[in-house]
């Protein structure tokens, strides 16, 4: 526990004040090359894919066990099943009670939890690196032998219903729920959230069936990042915990045709709202789409970060909104592109007009050279900054494995951002960012803002859930 601390009193280097040119940012040298930590991949005989990244900086191990078993696998009348399975995997197994699992996770300096995205069910675990073996044992136990005890299922249902109520008291949640429904239509991506009825219908049997159908080694990838045991020892650990997990046939991935994007205006009535959440959205592009990177760069020019057009025109110049942005939320097989803002009731009409105009402008004229180079730097720089923690790198690898991307996706990211041209952005903007066929979803007080929205067309009002 010895550490050396040096104190420098007074300035170490004297510099003459009057020679300093403060009028412009200093010239800086180019950034040295940076390589992401190497990713190694192997597959166990039962089909379990294992990805390892050795990172010795911290005495930690971060693990993710991701299954192709997200909310898109929920039966139509059972939204929220995947997330319920995920949450309840850690609430009891054949050999461990819920409390035991929680205590063991704390004892190894870790955490263990399950969650579901539209595409994947993910068991997330972490531990101090000296406890890697115990972490793997815990993860294998919950993945393979969860018992869905009746009392835990009942408590989950009770609390999940209250949690859903709390979520629905947030206008942004209501807006997301509604725009996903409209944009994805009959596709399972339209049903990412449970309802009180679907929560009521959960039983230990439905949960176990979902697990038995989909949680198989050949439908999973195990990601291990951190200070890991040497390769031979790690292989032995993996064989011991996962090697005898039998391969199983898994059902095909549910899909449905996606609706043609078209303009509609939906007002979710939330009485008492002092602001309106305005979303203008339509189908976007997946990460596997050849035009994904032009859209990523174009979207960032439009509404990513504080240098974006939306931030500057709608927040800084007009003062309509505190929060305004655009995003392309990409799932494996479809994506939602949307611009969104939260504006005070009095300016709903003007602000919506400005938002639509900025989206149109993206499709009408090329981005400037300045915007383009600034945005490329922003995306490339932040990409490295965001990969500092094991959790962040794990999240990226989960994404690439569950979305069917090549292993060099992360390595190639910066190159692809940098090689984007203005005409590519213009082309993809005409297809995706132009708002003519985008749905408008607004959450707010109908009494106060409906007339303003009617300026844009017929408005369908629906009560907040």
């Amino acid at each position: 526990m010895r550490r050396v601390v040096m104190f420098f009193l007074g300035a170490a280097v004297a510099v003459c004040g009057q020679d300093v040119d403060r009028s412009k940012p200093p010239e800086t040298p180019p950034l040295g090359a940076f390589k992401l930590p190497a990713m190694a991949e192997t597959t166990l005989p039962n089909g379990l894919t294992v990805v390892t990244v050795r990172d010795e900086r911290f005495p930690l191990v971060t693990a993710r066990l991701a299954f192709g078993a997200g909310s898109r696998f929920d039966p139509k009348n059972q939204p929220g099943l995947a997330e319920a399975v995920a949450a309840l995997l850690t609430e009891g197994t054949k050999s461990r009670k819920s409390r035991q699992i929680a205590e063991e996770a704390a004892e190894i300096g870790g955490s263990l939890s399950g969650s579901a995205t539209p595409d994947a069910l993910v068991i997330a675990g972490s531990a101090l690196s000296e406890h890697t073996a115990r972490l793997l044992a815990l993860m294998a136990d919950v993945a393979r032998y969860a018992s869905f005890p009746a009392d835990e299922v009942a408590l989950y249902k009770q609390n999940r219903k209250q949690a859903l109520l709390a979520q629905r008291s947030e206008s942004s949640y209501l807006a997301n729920e509604k725009i996903e429904e409209i944009v994805f239509g009959d596709h399972p991506y339209a049903r990412q959230h449970p309802t009180p009825e679907s929560i009521d219908a959960l039983t230990p049997e439905t949960l176990a069936q979902f697990r038995d159908r989909l949680l198989a080694p050949n439908n999973a990838v195990l990601i291990l990042i951190g200070k890991l045991p040497p390769p031979g020892a790690l292989r032995k650990l993996l064989e011991a915990r996962f090697g005898d997990w039998p391969t199983r046939g898994v059902p095909p991935v549910p899909a449905a045709p996606l609706p043609e994007p078209k303009r509609s205006i939906t007002l979710v009535d939330r009485p008492g709202s002092v602001q309106a959440d305005v979303h203008v959205g339509r189908l976007g592009l997946t990460r596997r789409d050849p035009e994904f990177f032009p859209l990523l760069v174009g979207n960032t020019v439009l509404g990513g970060g504080t240098s974006s057009r939306l931030f500057n025109h709608i927040r800084e110049e007009k003062g309509y909104a505190y929060s305004v942005y655009s995003y392309n939320e990409a799932h494996r097989d479809a994506a939602l592109f949307s611009a969104a803002m939260q504006v005070r009731n009095e300016v709903v009409e003007d602000a919506t007009r400005s938002l639509l105009a900025e989206m149109k402008r993206m499709a009408a004229e090329p981005v400037t050279a300045d915007e383009l180079s600034a945005t490329k730097n922003y995306l490339s720089g932040n990409f490295v900054i965001r990969l500092q923690s094991q959790e962040a790198l794990a999240a990226q690898i989960v994404n690439l494995k569950t979305m069917g991307l090549a292993n060099d996706y992360l390595e190639m990211y910066t190159t692809r951002v940098r090689s984007t041209e203005p005409d590519q952005i213009l082309k993809v903007a005409r297809k995706v960012i132009a708002p003519d066929h985008a749905a408008i979803v607004v959450v707010g007080d109908a009494q106060k803002i409906k007339p303003a929205l009617e300026k844009f067309g017929a408005v369908q009002v629906t009560p907040a859930r």
Binding site: V13, P26, Q158
Partner: protein, 452 residues
């Protein structure tokens, strides 16, 4: 708890510290009083710059609420050589990210940049410390932005008004601590350019600030740039510290807030906490880890699981604005609990009190204490992975404790707390006789009917 990740704007960092990770640093002071901390870590080519100013909501005067926060906005509105919009643009177009935040006792500004852009970040921070553009136009524009922020995060969302506006009124007796951190529209409207200029001169001086840089840096170069850009910014008379003394009368109090946006009831309970870094501070900190740290904690196991009364909770020394690293007494240890509507707020308060009383009545078993210690240690190691987290913590410990090295030694003091000390602290602090309670009752308006 999984479902509430977006519930509270004031997200609370885990209360923890680490024994295995030491953060090396050097510290020095410029002639104008600016305290500088450098910490080199070349493993990823990024640098984080963190500037802390010794001014927060508790520095405000009556009739001037919201100034500290309004000022945080003004700091992004341009300075002599970096006009409006340039700060954001320069950081982002160089590949970085940035932000600022307002706290009861300090305000901070920070950016993470690719390592080769350190000089650019220092240039920007120095320019606004030296020559912020305080104009009527910028002020009017930012008053609107702050009002908009209030509408978004407070007036239109559940719980936040109760937590940020009401809870301090219940928890504190001294106006310095009890007034709203975001301020009132009236006070914001009344703010003049002169008021804001005076505030800047008083508090945004180099001798009232700490600058910390962590990452892939060359210390000699960094020192050269820091001297070059910050060295001749003139110091100002050291601002007075506000009198934060709480009234001697700490009789229990309880209030109800009817929340028009909430649909699930909640309670907040709080207790005046110990002096920062006193022996009791570490004991109460460990008490909090036992009570609220992770899924094996007492509140999770006995209330969420056992009684099935609480749905989700947060707790911390200094909740909702602080954790152990930036806790500054007088402050409260507080618990926020969203609860099952089949229980009354009073029942929840009683159940929480029962847990605190239990902690005071019997020593913690060795195994449970060991588990809590491991949890704490691991949580801190995780936290220290990012250069920004290290920069923030080093600067905060310099500001509050006069020693950034406290970041690496705190853990030992927390881990050394004995079962008997925890028991004594729970008995001394977490008693019903010193308790403040805010009950949050859902009071929604009815939605309209479906149709065109």
């Amino acid at each position: 708890m999984r479902f509430f990740s977006t519930l509270l704007a004031a997200a609370v960092a885990l209360p923890c510290l680490a024994a295995d990770v030491r953060v090396p640093f050097e510290k020095y002071k410029l002639n104008n009083g600016l305290r500088v901390i450098l910490s080199r870590d070349a493993s990823v080519p990024v640098v984080s710059i963190y500037v802390l100013y010794g001014v927060g909501a508790r520095s405000e005067e009556k009739g001037r609420t919201g100034f500290a926060h309004l000022f945080e906005h003004m700091m992004f509105q341009g300075s002599a050589n970096a006009p409006k919009g340039m700060h954001f643009k320069t950081v982002e177009s160089n590949g970085g990210s940035l932000n600022g935040s307002t706290h009861p006792d300090f305000t901070d500004y920070y950016e993470t940049l690719p390592a080769n852009k350190l000089a650019v970040g220092l240039w920007l921070e120095a320019d606004r410390m030296r020559s912020l553009a305080i104009t009527q136009e910028n002020l009017d524009n930012q008053k609107e932005a702050v009002k908009q922020e209030r509408r978004l995060n407070f007036d239109n969302r559940p719980y936040n008004t109760a937590i940020v506006d009401k809870w301090p009124e219940v928890a504190f007796g001294n106006w310095q601590s009890s007034h709203s951190i975001i301020g009132s529209f009236e006070d914001l409207n009344a703010a003049s350019v002169d008021d804001v200029a005076k505030f800047f001169k008083t508090y945004y001086a180099p001798n009232n600030a700490v600058l910390c840089v962590v990452g892939d840096l060359n210390p000699a170069e960094a020192k050269k740039w820091i001297e070059m850009y910050f060295g001749d910014i003139p110091p100002q008379p050291q601002p007075k510290h506000p009198d934060l003394t709480e009234p001697a009368d700490r009789s229990p109090r309880s209030e109800v807030y009817r929340d028009p946006h909430a649909r699930v009831p909640a309670v907040i309970v709080g207790y005046p906490g110990p002096k920062r870094r006193s022996p009791d501070f570490y004991a109460l900190w460990m008490a909090d880890v036992l009570l609220s740290g992770g899924d094996s904690s007492r509140l999770q196991q006995s209330l969420v699981k056992g009684k099935q009364s609480v749905i989700q909770y947060e707790a911390n020394l200094g909740w909702p604005f602080a954790g152990p690293a930036d806790y500054q007494d007088p402050a409260v240890y507080a618990v926020f609990a969203l609860h099952n509507p089949n229980f009354t707020g009073k029942q929840i308060v009683d159940q929480l009190q029962e847990e605190f009383d239990k902690l005071g009545a019997a020593p913690v078993e060795a195994k449970e204490l060991e588990r809590a210690r491991t949890f704490l240690r691991a949580a801190r190691i995780k936290e220290l992975q990012s250069t920004m987290a290290r920069a923030r913590l080093l600067a905060q410990h310099e500001y509050f404790d006069g020693d950034p090295g406290v970041l690496s030694t705190e853990i030992d003091r927390a881990l050394a707390v004995s079962s008997a000390q925890i028991q004594a602290a729970a008995k001394k602090y977490l008693t019903a006789g010193k308790r403040a309670v805010l009950t949050i009752v859902p009071a929604p308006k009815a939605p309209a009917k479906e149709g065109q």
